[in-house]
């Protein structure tokens, strides 16, 4: 279906794996206006398909790989694509975002998205080009690690330039937190790798020569130049992230009591400096790298076994560092690489290990794992990926293990998805975000309020005041940035640079002091975004869309699309039984203060949830009301 809008290729490819047949999935310009692309587009496609009775590992589970209208337009940090489906980890709607170039190649083949339904009758890899979709036997690829698989694919194809994604042994063996790998990047979270494994689909390659049309080339080029200059001049996106990567957060989190330590029993790790971003930069980093069109270049390149490989992100440093009481950075680099090779989410894998260590300490389940004793971890990861021995149990994740052996209060997950490395008892808003996030315990889908609560700005971290309203605002903004096809890191430049370079200045202090008292203003903005028919000078996203795509956009419309996406995802989750009861955190975080002398250092979840539901227009059970759905044009 052709589109009047630029940026889009105008077609959605639907692949029936069972019948090995392809068709076009209908997607109209009205859909583009309402759902934009990426994860929101995927949510709409899946909302129209899922009834609430589907099982994650079944033919009825669809996987949607989608791009945004800005993917491939040259907009800053726009080489992103999204993968959505039903998660075997959470049983609800999953979405996982990935860098690399697959999304750009998908568009070059002429598609904005592809849908995978059914199940391949035999082990298969799929080759997509502009003319056809080819199904190849993957017997020889089955069992390969992710880099080995991608190298083998390159040898099979007669052309050199193409995008690819694949699963590793973890996906093949249905590890609940298996990810999907594309080049060195990972759609790591929510276990969609095991859905591909169940569908007997090892890999997809895609190539083509098409280009997404640009609405106004002159304005688009000028705006990209201006935006890139802004990002490279901003202290976060132009300095900290390129020089230290996300790893640079470890020390600051330590200082703020936010660094998950010993399975989140504490927020500070005495050996943090041995596993910090500074040490990574000083002793291990070869260079920083980035996705295509990204001026931020946050990725690290490190040496493992004489080979330059992707370095760890903050999450991996924190969760395979202090959270399991390991101070050996070299080991973390090796495990990080190993987990990517096996195709397994580092966050969930590390959290599951930490839970097992504590369960062993408490005498609930003896897996042999102990805090600080990590010599065998590499072979344990291998066992998990192949579901051997104890690894077969660990492959189930911390939620299911705690249901079997006890220890739910220290299974650090929400809705089945293990938490990121931010210990939220000194960042209440981040705690709320973990609890209510649509995909489960995710720091980004939760709104990333920690950026106000000590990492970035420095507002009162433990107060519940205004946190619910800011959570909704940030969730909706990030939802729409993701749907555009852009990296969420572009949102960090939303904060004017002087607030970060002058944390002790009068204005910054005033902003920090004011934030807990302006919840009402943020609530108004959230309720009536359409009155904000403006473009903000610090938020370049909204002008990029009319210039490149030719679609009307302003800050208010953008926010409304994000809100629509968030509610759509919630509505799908509600079909699968999600209510307020599922928006919860482990008791350790809500009932036990991190600092025994300070009762405010725990997450005041119920209080914030109530305000959050009101702000969202959800009822007391956390279900979007009919009025909310109608307002958002969700049917």
């Amino acid at each position: 279906m052709e589109s009047k809008y630029c940026g889009y290729m105008g077609r959605v490819l639907c692949i029936d794996l069972t019948a090995q047949a392809v068709s076009d999935y209908p997607w109209s310009d009205r859909d583009r206006e309402l759902y934009l692309g990426g994860k929101i587009m995927a949510a709409k496609i899946l909302a129209d398909h899922f009834t609430g009775k589907e099982e994650p590992l079944s033919e009825e589970n669809w996987i949607v790989v989608s791009t945004g209208p800005l993917t491939g337009t040259g907009a800053p940090s726009s080489a992103r694509f999204n993968i959505s489906g039903l998660s075997p980890q959470t049983g609800i709607l999953a979405s996982s975002n990935c860098g690399g170039s697959f999304g750009i190649w998908l568009k070059r083949a002429g598609y904005d998205a592809l849908i995978l339904k059914g199940r391949c009758p035999e082990k298969t890899w799929i080759e997509i080009n502009e003319e056809q979709v080819l199904f190849h036997n993957a017997d020889d690829l089955w069992g390969t690690k992710t880099s080995e698989c991608q190298q083998a694919l390159a040898k099979k194809l007669t052309y050199k330039k193409f995008g690819k994604l694949c699963i590793g042994p973890a996906g093949e063996n249905l590890v609940r937190y298996a990810g999907i790998i594309s080049e060195e990047r990972a759609a790591g979270r929510t276990g969609l790798g095991s859905v591909l494994g169940w569908k007997n689909l090892k890999a997809i390659t895609v190539t083509g020569t098409k280009q997404a049309p640009i609405h106004n080339k002159e304005k688009t080029t000028a705006w990209i130049k201006k935006w890139t200059k802004y990002l490279t001049g901003h202290p976060l996106t132009g300095s900290q992230l390129p020089k230290l990567g996300t790893a640079g957060l470890v020390s600051s989190m330590q200082m703020r009591g936010l660094l998950s330590t010993k399975n989140y029993s504490a927020g500070q790790y005495e050996d943090f400096d041995k596993v910090s971003g500074e040490r990574l930069a000083e002793d291990f980093n070869i260079t920083n790298k980035g996705c295509l069109t990204c001026p931020i270049r946050c990725a690290r390149s490190v040496r493992v076994d004489g080979q330059a490989v992707k370095g760890p992100e903050l999450e991996t440093l924190g969760l395979l560092g202090g959270n399991i009481c390991n101070n050996d950075l070299q080991k973390i680099l090796e495990w990080n690489h190993q987990l990517d090779e096996l195709g397994m989410d580092t966050i969930s894998a590390a959290n599951t290990i930490a839970w097992a260590m504590e369960a062993g300490e408490k005498g609930l389940w003896d897996s042999g794992l102990r805090f600080g004793s990590c010599e065998e971890l590499s072979s344990i990861f291998d066992d998990i990926a192949h579901r051997r021995g104890i690894g077969n149990e660990l492959a189930e994740g911390s939620k299911r293990l705690s249901e079997k052996y006890g220890g739910k209060e220290f299974a650090m997950q929400a809705k089945g998805l293990e938490l990121a490395a931010y210990e939220p008892r000194k960042a209440a808003g981040q705690g709320l975000g973990y609890a209510v996030a649509n995909r489960g315990g995710c720091h980004l889908n939760g709104g990333y309020l920690v950026i106000l609560e000590g990492l970035g700005l420095n507002t009162n971290p433990t107060t519940p005041k205004a946190k619910a309203d800011f959570t909704m605002l940030f969730q909706d903004l990030m939802e729409c940035i993701s749907a555009s096809g852009q990296c969420l890191f572009t949102s960090y430049a939303f904060f004017p640079g002087f607030l970060l370079t002058k944390p002790n200045g009068i204005i910054t202090k005033a902003v920090n002091a004011a934030i807990p008292h302006i919840g009402w203003a943020v609530r108004f903005m959230n309720k009536c975004p359409l009155v904000l028919a403006i473009h903000l000078p610090v938020f370049h996203h909204t002008k990029m869309i009319p210039y490149a795509v030719g679609m009307k956009m302003n800050f208010g419309r953008y926010l409304r699309i994000g809100e629509r996406g968030y509610n759509l995802e919630r509505m799908v989750n509600c079909r699968f039984g999600i209510t307020a009861e599922n928006d919860k955190l482990p008791k350790r975080l809500t009932d036990t203060p991190q600092d025994p002398k300070d009762p405010t250092t725990k997450v005041p979840l119920e209080k914030m949830k109530k305000t959050y539901y009101q702000a969202r227009g959800w009822d007391k059970n956390g279900i979007p009301t009919q009025a909310t759905l109608k307002k958002l044009k969700i049917k």
Binding site: P235, L236, T237, S239, Q240, L241, K243, L244, T246, G248, L249, S251, S252, M255, S276, G277, E278, A281, E282, C298, E313, L314, E315, A420, A421, Y422, H443, Y448, I451, L455, G456, L457, N458, F489, Y492, F495, L500, T501, K502, P503, N504
Partner: protein, 77 residues
């Protein structure tokens, strides 16, 4: 002697991980550091100060056994 620790970009750009310095208050300490690293003057000025692990007033008095941590604000994970 005060124990000073630098983090984040401040550490990368000055190459200073930890130092022992004489100072009776935070301004004196920061001034000494700025004199030592004039090119990082703004970064030092913009850094958050923790004394013995707690956020400190930038005019705070220091005792010889105090540990001062300096780190520029960071975000994005």
């Amino acid at each position: 002697m005060i124990t000073l620790r630098c983090f984040g970009l401040l550490r990368l750009e000055t190459g200073l991980k930890e130092a022992r310095m004489e100072a009776s208050d935070v301004p004196q300490l920061l001034k000494a550091l700025q004199d030592q690293f004039p090119r990082q003057r703004e970064l030092i000025r913009g850094s958050l100060v923790l004394v013995n692990g707690k956020s400190a007033n930038r005019r705070a008095k220091l005792s010889p056994e105090d540990r001062v941590d300096l780190f520029p604000p960071v975000a994005g994970g």
